[in-house]
Subunit: 586 residues, 2 copies
Amino acid sequence: MYRTHDCGALRIENVNQNVTLAGWVQKNRNKGFIVWVDLRDRYGITQLVFDEERTPKVVFEKAQQLGREFVIQIHGTVIERESKNPNMNTGAVEVLVNELNILNPAKTPPFTIEDQTDGGEELRMQYRYLDIRRNPVKQNLLFRSKVSMAVRNYLTDAGFIDVETPYLIKSTPEGARDFVVPSRMNEGQFYALPQSPQTFKQLLMVGGLDKYFQIVKCFRDEDLRADRQPEFTQIDCEMTFVEQEDILTQFEGLTRHLLKEINGIEVGDFPRMSYDEAMKTYGNDKPDIRFGMTFTELNDSAQGKGFGVFDNQELVVGIAVPGAASYSRKEIDALIDWVKRPQIGAKGLVYVKCNADGTFKSSVDKFFGPDDLKVWAEKAGAQAGDLLLILSGEAHSTRTQLSALRMELAERMDLRDPKVFAPLWITDFPLLEWDEDTQRYHAMHHPFTAPKPEDLEKLATDPAAVKANAYDLVLNGNEIGGGSIRIHDQKLQAQMFDLLGFTKEEAQAQFGFLMDAFQYGAPPHGGIAFGLDRLVAILGGEETIRDFIAFPKNNSGRDVMIDAPAYLAQEQLEELNLKTLPKKEA
Amino acid sequence: MYRTHDCGALRIENVNQNVTLAGWVQKNRNKGFIVWVDLRDRYGITQLVFDEERTPKVVFEKAQQLGREFVIQIHGTVIERESKNPNMNTGAVEVLVNELNILNPAKTPPFTIEDQTDGGEELRMQYRYLDIRRNPVKQNLLFRSKVSMAVRNYLTDAGFIDVETPYLIKSTPEGARDFVVPSRMNEGQFYALPQSPQTFKQLLMVGGLDKYFQIVKCFRDEDLRADRQPEFTQIDCEMTFVEQEDILTQFEGLTRHLLKEINGIEVGDFPRMSYDEAMKTYGNDKPDIRFGMTFTELNDSAQGKGFGVFDNQELVVGIAVPGAASYSRKEIDALIDWVKRPQIGAKGLVYVKCNADGTFKSSVDKFFGPDDLKVWAEKAGAQAGDLLLILSGEAHSTRTQLSALRMELAERMDLRDPKVFAPLWITDFPLLEWDEDTQRYHAMHHPFTAPKPEDLEKLATDPAAVKANAYDLVLNGNEIGGGSIRIHDQKLQAQMFDLLGFTKEEAQAQFGFLMDAFQYGAPPHGGIAFGLDRLVAILGGEETIRDFIAFPKNNSGRDVMIDAPAYLAQEQLEELNLKTLPKKEA
C-alpha cells in the first residue's frame, strides 16, 4: 500500500489524521527553516510542509534536495493551513511530514510541467509521457475517456450491441490508400488494415444483429494534412429495418445526450438542410451556423451593367459583414489580398460600404449607382454600418472562396464561440461526383450508399442528378458524423459497381462476399460513423485533435517518441519473403 | 418506420392491436387453407397466421410462396393463440396478417439456420453472416458485448481511464513475431502492429494517469495452433503506486463482479498458489481445481526396491482416480496407450487398483508387495475403489504428462462442470527461463517484469533462482489473465536487457524511449491483461473461442468469407517500394 489518500483527497475534515501520500514533486519552495513541497498526482495537488522544528532532521534535510518531478512517498499528519487557498480542493490543509521516501529521482524535464509550458510541439511529442503530466493534456485524455463511456452507455441502453470486427482484412483499391500487412503464412499475399468496418457491419445486419456499434480504430495511408492522423477512431454504428428518419432520430438523440451529459447544454431539434441549400447558402457542406453572413446571389441585379468582372460569370454572390463598413481602406485591401492568396484563389473582391448615414461607397462606383447598391444591400439584408463583400466566377469555386472568407471573418470577429454548440443535419447529398482526372464517377459517400428510391430510374439515364439517402452531422462547422441508408439489393449493388467503373470480375473479386450475402435475405439497413477524435475535440471546445490523442503521429506519420516506423531486420524481411527496393531519387 | 414491434415483443396484452413487424422467415407451414409463418429477428420469433377466410386473397397467395430466410414486413392484428406455446415469450399470441411486403427474397441457405445446423465448420465460416443468424452464435456475440460492457463499467467506476494506444508502432524482435506494415511515406521502413500495448501503458503511468484500461486488439504472427487467432482482444490494465497485493485485490474484484453480474455466481476470496506449488501439485501452472486428483510424490517409498523404471528417475509421481479401480484391463491399456502417444510422450504408466475389499492389484506386483502399495495409496489419499496411476522420469516432463492425464480423466469423468467456476491466483513465477536452443535466458512474462526485491542480489549470481512479482489468474484450468509489477528503475531495466542478451546498443535502439522515461520520475507501477476472447468463452461455459468472435480466421490465418489475405495490385507494391520474392520451394 503506497498511499492512504490520493493528492486530491484531503479536506479540513481530515485534520489530525496520519496519512501516506505518493506522487510527483510539482514545486519545492525552500525558505531555509521551512520547506513547502507541492505533491501532484492525477487527482490534484497537496501541499507538504517540512519544518526545522517539527520535522525529523534527516527528513528535513532530504526534503531540501527534492527536485522537480521526483517521485516520493511521505507519511505525515494533516494540519490546517494558516493561509488557505480557496482555488484548490485541498487548499484548506497541508501535511506535516515526518517520513520521506524518494521512490525515484528525476532528471530535470526538458520542458516545464505547467499548464503553459515552454516546450515546443516536437519536444512535447518526443517526451509525450511528460507532456501527459501537464493538466491540459491530462484533462483532454480524461475527457475523451468520459465521452467514449457516455457514447457506450447511451448506445447500450438503446439496444446496440458492441461487436469487434477484424483488423486484418482485404485491400480494396477503391477510396483512399490502404495500409497493408504482409502475410507470412500466405506467401506473397497481404492483409489490409480497415479504412472502416463498413462491409463487416453490413454483414452483421445481414446476420440479424439489428443494432451494432463499435468504437474502433481505422487506418488511411494518405498524405497527411495538418490535423489528420494515419490511424483514427470511429464510433461506428449500423441499424436494420430503418429509414433515414430513424437513423437521424437515433443519432440526434446520441448527440443531444452527449451535449447534455458532457457539456451540460440542452439543445432542441437539430435543424436540417439539403446539400444543395448548404452549398447555396454557405458555400460549404459543413456550414458553421453559429453566425450569419449567409450568401446572397446577385446575378439578377449585378449583371448586364457593363461590369465585365460580373457580366460573364456563372455566379455573383455576396455576404453582409455586420458592422464592417468602418473598415479602413487598408483593412479592406488586406481582405482582398487574403482572398487572392493561392490557397483561396479568388481573382478579386468587390466591396460595398453601407455607411451609417445611408449612403454607399463601393469599389465599383464606376459601374453601379447608389440605387443598384441599395438593391444589393437590401437583398443581402445589409444594415447601415455593414460591409457587403462580393465574389464572382464559376459557381462552385466562387462559393468555396466566399465560404473561406466567411469563416475567416468569423474567426477574426470572434463569432465562433466554442461554448456555443450548433448541430445541423445535411441531407440529400448527390450519390455520385464526376472526377475529371479519371473521367469517371466516384461515390460521394461510398459505393454502398443507396440512391433515393424516387431517383432510381435516373441512375441509368442521368447519374449525376441522382440524390443519395446520405446524411452528415455537422457541429460548429465540422463534419462529426456521416452515413447513409445502404443498398441491400444485389442487382442494385452490381449496377452501382458498374457505374463506378468496376468490371464484373473486379466487383466479384473484391465484393463478391457482400453481393452473395445480399442474396440470402439481406434486410434494409443503414448507419452512421462519427469521428471520435474530432467529436471529442469539439465537445472540449477545441478544433485540433492532436492533444486529445494519447500518442499522436506527426505530419510524416512518425511517432517521434518511439521513433517509428523503423527499418526491419533482414531476417524479418526474408521470413516475409519481401524485398525493399532501393530508395527512389527525389 | 419498418416496424412497430420487434419479433420478441408481443404478449397477451397486445391482443387486438394493429402491428407492423419485419424479420426473416424461419419456417413456413402451409396447411392449404392456413399458413403459419415463424417470423424471426434478433429479439425472438413471432408466429404469423394467414388464413383463407380472414386474409386477403392476394396476401394469402403471396404467403404460400415465402421461402426460408425471406425478409418480409407485415401488417396485421394480434390475436390470442388457441394452443399457446409456454416456451416462447410470444407464445400466447399470433399475428393475423392482412398485408405482406417481401423486402428481399432469399436463396436457400447452404445450411440450416437452426441451433443444431447441418453446416460444417468451413461452410459456416464462409457464410458467417448466415451462421450469425443462428441462436448459439448470436447469443455468444450478445454475451460478449455484455461482458465487455460489464468490464468497462466496473473499471470506470473504479477510476480507471480508457486510453487508446497506437496500433502503428515499432517492431521488436523479442518475443513472438510481429505483423508489420510498410510505410509509404517513410521509404523502406515499417510499422509493427502491437502484440500488446505494454510499453505504452507503462508510459501512461510515467505520465501520471494512475489507472488505465483499454479493451484492445493485439496481433501475433505465430504458427496457429487450434483455437489461436492472429488477432485477439485483451483487457489491458495498469496501475500506479501499487504492490502486487493491490493488483490482485483490484482484479479479483473485477473477476468476482463478472461472475456475479454475468453468471449470477458469488465467489469468495480466490485461493492463491505459488508457481512451484502448482507445478508440484498439479504439474501445471494453470491447474483446474474444480476436482482433486492432486499429485503425490512417491520417490521415498517407491525407489530402491529394484524396479528400474522408478529407481533412477528424478521423480515418481501419482494420482488417485476416484472410483476407477473397477476399470477393465482394456480400459487401463487404453489409458497406457493414451499417455504413450507422442503428444504426451510418457514411456508407460504404472497402476495400482485399490480394490473394494482392501486388497491391491498393480502392474508392478513383481516388485512391490501389498504393504508397499498400501503406503502409496495412503500417501495419495486413495480410498478403496480408487485407481492409482503413477508416472516416473525427469521431473518437469513427468509432471506435464501426468497433468495431461489428469485433465483427460477429468474430461472423461465429466468433472469439468462448465457451470462451476474455480478461480485461482498463481504467483511467484520464476523471472527467467533458460532456453536450450538459443543458450540464453528468456523472460518468463516479459522483459519489463520486476524481480522480487528480496531476490535482487541473485540477479547477478544465480538468475535462474530469481522469482518475479508476476501473477496469473486461472479460471477452470485456463489462464485468463496475467501480469506483473514492472521495473521502474532505469539501471535495473538495463541489467534485465543485458541478462536477456541485448547489447547496450540494441536495448537503446529498441527501448531507449522507455529507459529515458524511467529517468524522468517513473513511479512504481504494475498491471495485468486478460484475454477477452477466452474469458468470454469460459464465462459462457465453453472452451473454444471461435464462436465468440464475429469474424474469426481459420488455422492458416485466412478469413475464408472475404478471402483474405490476397495478392496486391502491382501498383500498390510499387507505391510501397516493395517486391515480393518468388515462391520458395517447399
